[in-house]
């Protein structure tokens, strides 16, 4: 089991890494959408879940989501938005673009772990 976290904040990536470690899930990380697309290419899309920030420099999370979902190689990978954009309009836009789940920042470690388990279909 492996997840890809895409977030420009190294602090948030550390928090996600700690949660993934607790759940014994391997991680890959990228700082923005473009870096994440390059990484996916390099690892041949071999991740089981993508955790995706919205506000990032370079390619933002929404644009990355659209790119991934229209790409036949990666479109099947579930994407969970992990973002401070918590309004209904943003959630609807992300779900329409193909996001499978949504977690609003700030979150506690417990909330994050529960959401990851929900996405990967475990029993927590």
């Amino acid at each position: 089991m492996k997840l890809l976290m895409v977030d420009d904040s190294s602090s948030i990536r550390k928090v996600i890494k700690a949660a993934a470690d607790m759940l014994r899930i391997e991680t890959e990380e990228a700082e923005d959408g473009l870096q994440a697309l390059e990484l996916l290419e390099r690892i041949h899309g071999e991740v089981d879940l993508i955790l995706l920030d919205w506000n990032m420099p370079g390619m933002n999370g929404y644009d990355f989501l659209v790119e991934v979902k229209k790409d036949g190689r990666y479109g099947h990978i579930p994407v969970m938005m992990v973002t401070t954009e918590g309004q209904q309009s943003s959630i609807i836009a992300a779900v329409r673009a193909g996001a499978a789940n949504y977690l609003t920042k700030p979150f506690t470690a417990g909330e994050l772990e529960a959401k990851i388990m929900e996405c990967v279909g475990g029993e927590g």
Partner: protein
């Protein structure tokens, strides 16, 4: 209006119901962010906010319907503690870059939470990328009819000052 060198006081804000509502949204959001990210319970502190330029300042331009700037500042020792608690890094291993990143993300999450609290049919404002200001006791001036929100939150161990200025 504009000289924020003395750090606006929350008491001034409370006299204006609209700015009081805005203050509650931003300060409430900041308290929630700190609690979720670090486990610390921050409450309103008496006394003025940090001057801009004391310690590190995280900033974000707010655009859209309401335009302005959000500033959150803290002393280095306090930021070290917050970053350590958020990321699980031992305090001695927290770098300046780590502190800056943690402060930027606190700014980002605080703005997002305040936006959620203030938005109705229309978004209250649009977020932009947070950035860090460091330097010596600078004053911040702002053009236009600046609505100002300021307050300081903390517990026994650390504190953060928040300032929002709207055109």
């Amino acid at each position: 209006m504009g000289d924020m060198g003395d750090g606006g006081r929350a008491g001034q804000v409370r006299d204006d119901p609209v700015m009081g509502y805005v203050a509650d949204a931003f300060l409430g959001s900041l308290a929630e962010v700190v609690s979720a990210a670090t486990g610390l319970t921050f409450a309103a502190l008496e006394g003025g906010v940090h001057r801009v330029g004391e310690g590190m300042v995280g900033a974000m331009g707010l655009y859209g319907g309401n335009r302005g700037i959000l500033l959150i500042s803290a002393e280095e020792a306090d930021l070290r503690l917050l970053s350590s608690r958020m990321t699980g890094t031992p305090p001695g291993d927290v770098t300046d870059a780590d502190m800056g990143d943690t402060l930027c993300e606190i700014v980002n999450m605080t703005a997002g939470g305040a936006k959620l609290r203030l938005s109705g049919e229309e978004d209250a404002f649009t977020l932009s990328m947070p950035f860090i200001i460091t330097g010596q006791a600078m004053d911040v001036s702002f053009k236009g009819r600046a609505g100002v929100v300021a307050g300081r939150l903390g517990d026994g161990e650390a504190s953060l000052s928040l300032r929002v200025m709207f055109h």
